[in-house]
Amino acid sequence: MTDLTKLTIAEAREGLKNKDYTSLELTDAFIANIEAANAQLNAYITITADQAREMAKASDAKLAKGEGGALEGIPLGIKDLFATKGVHTQACSHILDGFKPPYESTVTTNLWADGAVMLGKLNMDEFAMGSSNETSYYGPVINPWRKNGSNQDLVPGGSSGGSAAAVAARMCMGATATDTGGSIRQPAAFTGTVGIKPTYGRCSRWGVVAFASSLDQAGPIAHTVRDSAILLKSMASVDPKDTTSVDLPVPDYEAAIGKSVKGLKIGIPAEYRMEGMPAEIEDLWQKGISWLKDAGAEIVDISMPHTKYALPAYYIVAPAEASSNLARYDGVRYGLRVPGKDIVEMYENTRAEGFGEEVKRRILIGTYVLSAGYYDAYYLKAQKVRTLIKRDFDLAWENGVDAILTPATPSAAFGVADQDLHSDPVKMYLNDIFTVTVNMAGLPGIAVPAGLSGDGLPLGLQLIGKPFEESTLFQIGQVIEDAAGSFEPEKWWG
């Protein structure tokens, strides 16, 4: 029998419908992979095997009757940031110890309504703050990819590192993820998977643990462009429970796949050519340009002069919003409580012990930039710069550009516990340099695997689209995938 875990979602959807195998068989194959690999990769923090089998059986009953939703019987992993009823939901933080919500996030509700099966909860950076999945209370996730001839453990990127690693190592067919500054696209690029952050407002944020509310968006990580289109179609919805959810019907994203890109105008922004950028990233970008040109797209040089200010503005806006959102963790309503001599000391002790170093750093920065006398100098200025960043994109669209092509990350995956990156927090932040502009402007962005580095590690290209034009990204992304092929790590685990 074929290895069921090697199937794409699109293939499994057909196989299940044709009764070539059952969802229970498919689910069991993934549970076996998880049990074999998780001790080494640490992608899952909770495995819900019993629940998965019950959901799979229910799907099989529907499939037997020729019924079922768009994802009927498809086993998925869920990032620990999404509230799942009665199941571990802690944003991989110590401060949410034992938290099991009595409710379900809108995104996961949509997935279960379409028939998907939950395999478990995935590791991530604490409160989605990180670019390496090393800030998790549950320890780092290990990238299934290694450099040629090396045994060194590499990071899968972050914050959705568990999601990306689980997909790459065939521990789920696809995974939910979230992206505040690059947390879907950077780990997708580091693991040879496809990740899309949709337009702000496309997926409901209800029931997703908040980090920076004006930037947070949920999206999928999957093996192929088509699979990510299938998942996004189910995840996205119009939700009255989220006032920033946009009143637009969710299109059939799959319909865009296979459409010609002939005549589409692809912008190449000069400002993404960063000083000190490795030659192989530049080469990858040039390859992407020629693939799209060969497919009939028109390549145009564009200028986005405020690009370099997106990351510094982000490191004011995101911590400011985080410091406010994370004020709720006080040891009273949920999670960890560390006693003190009075209520204030209880708050201070609880938050000192419950939050990790990176989270504390961002809360302090956020508290400082919002404190009396500094608001105008920092937060207000950053929001004005954000207007200029968005205007750069608006000008490109006004000039007829359909999508923008950039590298996804400034490098391939790096080592776990990299001394250089850990001694200077700003160096770690630079991982998001190509992705963060997209969050600041609320736009959709997709990372598609495009090649391997000299060391044999995956590298990705990013496509940025107009608001709510995710279909265009899937259309162009498929052209890159067709030209680049797909990438599978050599199995050394399990």
């Binding site: 004011i316 009273v332 209520i343 302090l364 700003v426």
Partner: protein, 95 residues
């Protein structure tokens, strides 16, 4: 702008996070590195630029001011570290 150790302690107090002398010393350096990085924004001319308040061109949705949910006291206190009769328990705050 940069912060000194007293400012870090004051901000930590505002954020209700207990910090030791050593923590505060280390954090002072880290916070100054981040504040130094964001100083680049001073180069940008923001005269006459409005701050961005929403990335999506949509009027904020409003709902009717009616009760749509409730009677879930048990659910709400379910995850509390200490609760009694559907009330959250905290150390004494009023003498």
């Amino acid at each position: 702008m940069s912060v000194d150790i007293d400012t870090v302690k004051r901000v930590a107090r505002l954020a209700r996070i207990k910090v030791s002398e050593d923590d505060a010393t280390r954090m002072t350096g880290e916070l100054n590195a981040i504040l130094g990085f964001v100083e680049q924004l001073d180069e940008v001319n923001i005269d006459g630029v409005e701050p961005l308040t929403s990335v999506v061109d949509q009027t904020m949705k409003k709902r009717e001011d009616g009760v749509t949910d409730g009677n879930k006291a048990k659910d709400i206190t379910l995850n509390a570290p200490a609760s009694e009769d559907n009330f959250f328990m905290v150390p004494k705050v009023v003498e």
